[in-house]
């Protein structure tokens, strides 16, 4: 199917395969279509279609639909197939893709090695038939036969041309994918995946100090960023500061891995675990030589600990939307960072 479109940046056409989402088809062709969640919640990918009968809406109840004016033919590009040649108009500016942009692919992989990290966080790997590339900080959309619709998960590992992707999932009460994963039927399942996606990527060529603020499962992409930084000796010359927010010490994970990062670059890397619901003074904390612990919400702890020393910083934020909004507030009010140095993913 041919999709003809236009945005403020001009006209474009691309081919959309049968069963392919319009957003993914455009991204696969290297078009900078607007999106954030790629999974129907945020509304950022809205566009207008001339003939509504030329597309199929895959999820009529998508939360992102609340941003649409249906009577004007608006739809979410991440939740629509083209079922005939169609004409669309994209309201956003559509800057061009960066030169080193890694094009999106659709592929399959097998879920293996699912393992509990805490009472409500599960890690698993996906083994791919064909290697793929991604940037540290990116995510893929996964779909499994037992659960309707795709889910976005950020890669934890970092490796070029890899056949293994590592993920973590936090259990969400009544969440369909996470409940399915926690029911331990996952290993051996073949998942469809689309990616890499996401613009909150680590760009070593910027040569800045990294400030990472993560809430809960938002740590996933930060692990990938820190892995790349360590593998490539980025932290020989640049600072890295991570704030990782969880409720209590029992909810924290990856502490051994984080301590290992710090011991590789003790002068440049700093990691603070922020416990929102537990007094640090009342507990015994592990890795005391390499990890710091503090009590409070992660964006508040970050502001206190940074103490207005945000020298040549680029910031990465990921986690639940209210936590991300709070961290953005800190970064603008306290760090006075310009918006283009704030990269975020809202796990909506």
């Amino acid at each position: 199917m041919k999709v003809s479109g236009r945005s403020k940046a001009g006209k474009f056409t691309f081919e959309c395969r049968t069963g392919e989402r319009i957003l993914y088809a455009g991204l696969r062709m290297g078009l900078a279509l607007p999106y954030e969640c790629a999974t129907g919640t945020c509304g950022t990918c809205k566009a207008r279609v001339r003939e509504p009968a030329t597309i199929k809406d895959l999820w009529p109840e998508a939360p992102g639909n609340s941003y649409l004016q249906r009577e004007r033919g608006e739809f979410l590009m991440c939740q629509a197939h083209a079922i005939a040649d169609c004409e669309i108009a994209v309201p956003a500016k559509m800057n061009s893709m960066p030169e080193d942009y890694i094009p999106l692919v659709s592929t399959q992989g097998t879920i293996v090695n699912s393992r509990l990290l805490t009472h409500d966080v599960m890690a698993f790997d996906i083994e791919l038939a064909d290697p793929i590339d991604f940037d540290a900080g990116q995510f893929v959309v996964l779909q499994v036969p037992d659960v309707e619709g795709g889910r976005a998960y950020s890669m934890v590992n970092y490796e070029r041309a890899t056949r293994r992707l590592e993920f973590i999932v936090k259990k969400k009460p009544d969440g369909r994918f996470s409940e399915w994963l926690f029911s331990s039927k996952a290993d051996g399942t073949v998942a469809e995946l689309c990616g890499p996606l996401g613009r909150a990527i680590f760009q070593p060529e910027e040569a800045k100090n990294l400030l990472c603020i993560a809430g809960g499962s938002g740590i996933a992409g930060m692990m990938s960023i820190l892995s790349r930084g360590c593998q490539e000796d980025y932290f020989k010359d640049h600072g890295g500061t991570l704030f990782f927010g969880v409720r209590t010490l029992n909810d924290a994970f990856f502490l051994d891995e984080l301590a290992d990062f710090v011991s590789a670059f003790p002068d440049k890397l700093q990691v603070t675990i922020a416990l929102s619901d537990e007094e640090v003074a009342s507990i015994e904390t592990p890795h005391n030589g390499s990890l710091n612990f503090a009590t409070g919400f992660v964006h508040i702890v970050a502001a206190e600990r940074m103490n207005r020393h945000y020298d040549d910083v680029v910031a990465y934020v990921a986690g639940p939307p209210p936590m991300v909004d709070g961290a953005i507030r800190t970064l603008i009010l306290d760090a006075r960072l310009p918006a283009d140095l704030i990269r975020y993913d809202k796990f909506s």
Binding site: R6, K8, R50, R72, A92, D325, I332, L333, A339, D340
Partner: protein, 122 residues
């Protein structure tokens, strides 16, 4: 003319935003420290309530939802913003903040209506 009193100057703290209802018209008042400004209450991007999503710092207003930014004094776009902020005419008389509301200002959330002959594209 329809100058209407919105609030008193100390109802809105410096570097903050507060939404008021002026005879049924929602108006967002910004206190820049030395001056006030009045805007329609919703972000021109995706209609988020700026009273909640807006951050004022250094004369810039940032919407925390997707980081569109504007010059608070003029409404001019900065950074990622793709539409300027609309402003109501505002004046201060002693302690009172007044705005001139001829009609409610609203953003065009739909695009490209004018250039198109058929309302879609050429």
């Amino acid at each position: 003319m329809s100058w209407k009193r919105v609030c008193s100057a100390n109802d809105v703290a410096a570097n903050s935003l507060k939404q008021f209802d002026v005879d049924g018209v929602p108006v967002l008042i910004a206190n820049l420290g030395d001056e006030f400004r009045a805007y329609p209450p919703l972000c021109p991007h995706m209609e988020e309530r700026l009273e909640e999503s807006g951050i004022c710092e250094g004369g810039l207003l940032t919407c925390s939802k997707h980081l569109w930014q504007w010059e608070m004094r003029t409404g001019e776009m900065r950074g990622e913003a793709e539409k300027p902020l609309l402003l109501y005419e505002l004046k201060q008389e002693n302690d009172d903040v007044l705005v001139n509301i001829e009609k409610e200002l609203e953003y065009e959330y739909e695009e490209d209506s004018e250039e198109d002959d058929d309302g879609f594209w050429d």
